[in-house]
């Protein structure tokens, strides 16, 4: 037991050290653009872990999840840009964005309480699109969102005078902006993962699981199904609100087209691919689906170099491989790449029996 505990500590320390030097290795090894890719994958991990609360824990198939990311991003954009001339500090905006997203989660969740499965998916899909279309059209009669042009010149994230946009020297090393954002995003990602893990293994997490398994029996076992569903929507939305705020500060620009249906579908795919309900699986899924498409871009360069022309467009190839991967998954690992221990055992049971 003591030995197992020690080896757990060793692997934790190694993991921590690895995560700490990752952006330095990547920037010197393969370039700064890849640090940005890693930053984005951290944002997507936050989103996937948040959506996993709604879909994986509580079993509510939400196809409009990206709307809450949009709410968080636009909150930041409106409160820290020349759009309204507001420049609120980061520590104030992030909670506001998270709270606004949670509120939207409840508002959009409330009308769907009686719906399940396919019907819920269709309605949430519609809600997601409504939010995007609103953002696209709220430039008249009063210009709030600046419509399809989006909001530019958003303040970079700045905490206590430390600007994440500027270079900093520390311990004889120079840290670029994407590297500094990496550490910020990593901290918040770890915090959100911690919250998600704690929630899963709690009275509330069990109630969510019960609703997922059998809503009627859950109600008859004393669970206030309405409140707990709303709580799941609100929690999931909060995660997306935080990620959205970070996204806006990181990019310096938001526009409605970043929040289309395809994004919602991608986040759902991350969960399904990784292993629904299991946090390590969800993290794996989110990482793979953000890093692999970027890696595929190299295929274009290689084709150019070896064949003299581009035979297969990397973007097409991406979709092709993506579809193929999902089919292979359905056939060979229907519970995801890294399912929870319980689900894996069950899947193996079914195969052997």
């Amino acid at each position: 037991m003591a030995r197992r505990k020690r080896s757990a500590w060793v692997s934790f320390t190694l993991l921590g050290a690895g995560l700490a030097i990752l952006p330095i290795l990547i920037e010197t090894g393969i370039g700064r653009s890849w640090v940005r890719v890693i930053d984005f994958s951290l944002l997507y991990i936050m989103l996937a872990v948040g959506l996993n609360i709604v879909v994986g824990y509580a079993g509510l198939l939400d196809l409009g999840y990206i709307a809450f990311y949009a709410v968080g991003a636009y909150c930041y954009a409106l409160l820290a840009s020349p759009q309204f001339g507001l420049h609120l500090p980061f520590w104030a905006i992030l909670p506001i964005g998270a709270a606004a997203a949670a509120l939207f989660g409840i508002l959009l969740g409330a009308p769907t309480l009686r719906l399940r499965g396919d019907y819920l998916a269709i309605v949430t899909l519609g809600f997601g699109e409504i939010v995007r279309i609103f953002l696209n059209n709220l430039n008249t009669p009063v210009n709030i969102t600046n419509g399809p042009q989006g909001i530019t010149l958003i303040d970079p994230i700045r905490i206590a005078g430390f600007s994440f946009a500027a270079k900093h020297h520390w311990l004889g090393l120079t840290f670029s902006s994407p590297q500094q954002y990496y550490y910020l995003f990593l901290t918040l990602t770890l915090a959100l993962i911690f919250v998600a893990l704690r929630l899963q293994d709690s009275r509330i997490g069990r109630a969510w699981a019960a609703i997922r398994e059998d809503e009627l029996a859950a109600a008859a076992t004393g669970i206030n199904v309405r409140n707990l569903k709303l709580l799941a929507f609100a929690m999931g939305a909060t995660f997306a609100g935080v990620a959205g705020g970070l996204f806006a500060g990181f990019q310096g620009f938001v526009s409605p087209e970043s929040f289309n249906l395809m994004e919602s579908v991608m986040i759902l795919c991350m969960i399904v691919l990784g292993g629904m309900g299991n946090i390590p699986g969800v993290i794996l899924g989110a990482t793979l689906l953000t890093v692999l498409p970027e890696a595929l871009r190299y295929l274009g360069d290689w084709q150019q170099a070896w064949l003299g022309r581009i035979v297969v467009d990397p973007d097409d190839l991406r979709m092709l491989l993506f579809g193929l991967a999902l089919i292979v998954m359905m056939l060979y690992r229907p519970a995801g790449l890294w399912p929870s221990r319980l689900r894996r055992r069950e899947w193996e049971d079914q195969r052997t029996s």
Binding site: V195, R198, L199, A209, A219, A220
Partner: protein
């Protein structure tokens, strides 16, 4: 008056079908009340009304002096009425222990902040939930399957699990919908024994729906008979056995 629940002239219609017609029934504190009747007589409908899953079209529902009409299922459970289902409804992808732990939900309080920060109170509560749930699995006799997924349990064990989950909610009245369905004669015997033990141990009042008339005659203090949505008889098992209307309902009229 020592009745715990009073059902007064309750009617329920589904479209043109009268599932229940003016049914009145009192459940006395501490008794085992049997509810029998041919298929489609309205027994489960009555259970669903009693536990808040259906709202009756007319009639009243009392728990002591308190009206239970228009209460949600979880509110009725909070007041101390728990149930099991005819077509077993355990949480299939959760372990037996987790199933029972869900039953503790209504009697525990930890919220969002407690879950995230795991303060001392939450930790104590969580330990109590776990211990109590383990004990209840022991009580119904399936403790050895604590960590088995509910859906992998045998039929009889799933029924026992449902009872444990219901007990975890600390009910004063427990409604069992065909608890012996799908059990063999030996299992049925241990089941009636279990039901009697539970009554003593938890000071329960029980309402039981069951088709096995022999089992019911031995188990119940009183029996009510439903036929085509109406209550046609109520009384001690011996009276019910001799009641001509009951015999008619079960054997059919000689035309």
């Amino acid at each position: 008056m020592n009745d715990i629940v009073r059902i007064e002239e309750v009617s329920k219609q589904f479209g043109g079908i009268r599932a229940l017609n003016n049914v009145s029934l009192s459940v006395l504190k501490g008794e085992i009340l049997g509810l029998i009747g041919p298929n489609g007589a309205g027994k489960t409908t009555l259970f669903n009304i009693l536990t808040g899953l259906y709202t009756p079209n007319s009639g009243q529902l009392w728990l002591g002096e308190r009206s239970m009409l228009n209460l949600k299922p979880h509110q009725i459970l909070q007041l101390g009425i728990a149930r099991t289902f005819q077509n077993i409804r355990v949480f299939p992808e959760m372990t037996a222990l987790e199933n029972v732990m869900v039953g503790r939900h209504a009697r525990t309080r930890a919220g969002l902040l407690g879950a995230v920060f795991r303060n001392r109170r939450t930790r104590t509560e969580e330990t109590q939930i776990r211990t109590r749930s383990g004990e209840l699995l022991e009580t119904v006799g399936i403790a050895r399957h604590s960590h088995t997924l509910a859906k992998n349990l045998s039929y009889g064990d799933q029924r026992r699990l449902e009872i444990a989950r219901a007990l975890a909610t600390e009910p004063q009245l427990l409604a069992l919908d065909e608890p012996a369905a799908g059990m063999n004669p030996a299992e049925r015997d241990t089941l009636s024994e279990l039901i009697r033990t539970l009554r003593e141990q938890f000071k329960l009042t029980l309402v039981v729906i069951e088709h096995d008339v022999k089992l019911m005659m031995n188990l119940c203090d009183r029996i009510a008979v439903l036929d085509f949505g109406e209550k046609i008889a109520e009384g001690a098992p011996a009276e019910i056995r001799a009641n001509p209307r009951v015999i008619q309902a079960y054997l059919g009229t000689e035309a």
